[in-house]
């Protein structure tokens, strides 16, 4: 059975005076990996918990497939969930945890055992069946949680920052493993994270959330390269947002208006290195730092405005060196300049 779509219509949740979900509507396609990305308090976890059934919205419609599940109890929704701290049952073995949903579904013990073993094999945990949960490492717990969430063949899969407790290397490895498992099962998945890199790596589409709303819903590349709002531009890494009046068009580049977004890494200090005609901005170096693969510069431009630049190291800058107060010109190509939909620069 193919994994169904998930459709939310105007889901609203209010805590006292705080609007946690402001009439959120979103359509998750069958088999899609959708990430809810946003800072803490943006409503991403609330939205996930509303789909899971742990948070009861004030109003709205949640569909899984064609069925309205808005008022269905959690245990009737048939959703696999991986919790932030895994929520493994400490009084059961690894196998006991993974068998649990199958025994609840009254599967014969032998069959339950067989399927639980298969799920553990899928997550590279053969041989760990009899272990205590307390005896597992963080990554192993993560895998048990994953096996437990998919063993009963739920219709959809929800994950709430499942990798936040792991260290960086393991996290990157698990990103690929989770993504592969999700694609193998072709299961519709909603994934919550505050880590933009993780969202970019794993997702089919990303919904960037802020203040209980979805600010932008797009594939990773457009979200990164063409942010629709100021918030998305700021959240997706080091970007510069400035009025068009501040920049000086060069060569064949067309005149610009409105508010522009230029990512820090898209600037160059030589006109040729920018990769095409575009704009130039003059400024003085206010601060700089060496970050290994890049030099990080803060350029003071007209007024009190600061420009963030990220210049690849190992090039001319290494020899020339930088001094505070030094006058520089930053160049960016037209294709790296993105105009915001939003209102004018305040």
């Amino acid at each position: 059975m193919a994994s169904p779509r998930i459709a939310l219509e105007r889901v609203r949740k209010v805590y006292g005076r705080h609007v946690a979900l402001d009439d959120v509507s979103v359509d998750v396609r069958p088999g899609e990996f959708l990430t809810l990305l946003g800072p803490s308090g943006s409503g991403k976890t609330t939205l996930l918990m509303a789909i899971a059934g742990f948070v009861r919205p004030e109003a709205g419609l949640i569909r899984i497939g064609e069925a309205d599940v808005t008022r269905l109890p959690v245990n009737k929704r048939d959703i696999g969930i991986v919790f932030q701290n895994y929520a493994l049952f400490p009084h059961m073995s690894v196998l006991g945890n993974v068998e649990y949903p199958l025994l609840l579904r009254r599967l014969p013990r032998a069959e339950a055992r067989e399927r639980a073993r298969a799920a553990l094999a899928r997550t590279q945990l053969e041989g760990y069946e009899a272990r205590d949960i307390a005896a597992l490492s963080g990554g192993q717990r993560q895998r048990v949680a994953l096996a437990r969430a998919v063993v009963f063949e739920p219709r959809v899969l929800l994950m709430d920052e499942p990798l936040s407790a792991l260290d960086k290397n393991l996290r990157e490895q698990m990103q690929f493993e989770i993504r592969k498992l999700q694609q193998d099962l072709a299961i519709t998945t909603i994934y919550v994270t505050h880590d933009q890199r993780e969202a970019l790596t794993m997702s089919d589409r990303i919904a960037v959330m802020n203040g209980g709303r979805i600010e932008q819903l797009d594939a990773p590349q457009p979200v990164y390269q063409r942010p629709r709002t100021r918030f998305v531009a700021n959240f997706m890494g080091e970007s510069n947002i400035m009025p068009a009046a501040l920049v000086e068009p060069l060569g064949s580049a067309p005149p610009l208006d409105g508010t522009l977004v230029i990512r820090a890494e898209n600037f160059a200090l030589e006109r040729d290195a920018a990769g095409g005609d575009g704009i130039a901005i003059k400024g003085r170096v206010a601060a700089y730092a060496f970050r290994g693969e890049t030099w990080h510069l803060r350029l003071k431009v007209e007024g009190e405005r600061e420009l963030l630049l990220s210049i690849p190291s190992g090039k001319s800058l290494d020899q020339a060196g930088i001094t505070i107060g030094q006058q520089l010109t930053a160049y960016a190509a037209a294709r790296h300049i993105h105009r915001l939909d939003g209102g004018p620069e305040p």
Partner: protein
């Protein structure tokens, strides 16, 4: 704390000797009954001049004492069986409802522990007389459960609050209902607290005297009531035998708990 004052030897010595005296004061009355219980004489002699087990024989050979012991043990068991589940469910309710409702339930549930026992006793006497339950096991049980509920709530509430509710959410997401989740996931993780609560409820009932004095009678007379009556009338060394058995039980329980608490 005293390690900041290693040179105050006199203070150390004074504090230790005073503390030893206070501790002696605390355990002396429970220890003194042991030699008395093995005395061979009718008199309360200390130290006893001859040893015998006659007071134990008198306790275990007396139909009255045995009936009272039986009543007290049954009552204590039933008290634990009724009060711990009731208190546990109330704690879950408080944990989930939170806010004013939770503190309201808590306040209501611990009222019996702050009202003087004598008032509960005579009030319960009125009520049970009206309900024609005076002198029945059920009547005394009600009184004991009422006193055990605050004890069980005080023990269980912190444990319920410490319990990670996400565990139950996980169980629910995997298909468990409320009952299945609570029994299969929550209770097994709270065994130690539940056992402590049951033990405390058991002991509180076993030790309860005031309500029993007023509302238990006849075949349902409890052990503490019989002890109270015989202490008021004459000092019977049989009570020393009972006290020794009781203290032995408590020592075993305390040591067991002390052993469990050590890592």
């Amino acid at each position: 704390m005293l390690d900041a004052y290693p040179e105050s030897r006199l203070a150390h010595a004074l504090l230790w000797s005073f503390g030893a005296l206070v501790l002696a004061f605390l355990i002396l009355p429970t220890l003194i009954v042991v030699p008395i219980s093995f005395s061979g004489s009718d008199m309360l002699e200390f130290p006893p001049r001859s040893l015998s087990l006659r007071w134990y024989a008198s306790f275990f050979g007396s139909a009255d004492w045995m009936a009272a012991l039986r009543t007290s043990l049954i009552l204590a068991g039933l008290t634990a069986i009724v009060s711990v589940p009731a208190a546990f469910l109330a704690c879950v309710a408080m944990d989930r409802l939170g806010g004013r409702l939770a503190s309201g339930i808590y306040t209501f549930a611990v009222i019996p522990s702050v009202v003087p026992g004598i008032l509960l006793a005579i009030g319960l006497f009125f009520v049970l007389a009206k309900l024609r339950l005076l002198g029945t096991l059920g009547g005394v049980l009600l009184g004991h459960v009422v006193l055990a509920i605050p004890v069980a709530v005080v023990v269980l509430y912190p444990a319920v609050r410490r319990f990670d509710w996400v565990q139950l959410q996980a169980a629910r997401s995997l298909g468990a209902g409320w009952g299945g989740g609570i029994v299969g996931i929550m209770l097994p993780q709270m065994v130690l607290s539940l056992v402590s609560a049951a033990l405390m409820a058991f002991l509180s009932s076993l030790d309860e005297a005031v309500i029993s004095i007023f509302v238990s009678s006849g075949a349902n007379t409890t052990l503490p009531k019989l002890m109270f009556i015989s202490l008021r009338d004459q000092i019977d060394p049989t009570i020393a035998a009972i006290s020794t058995l009781w203290t032995g039980l408590v020592v075993a329980v305390v040591l067991l708990f002390a052993a469990r608490q050590r890592p």
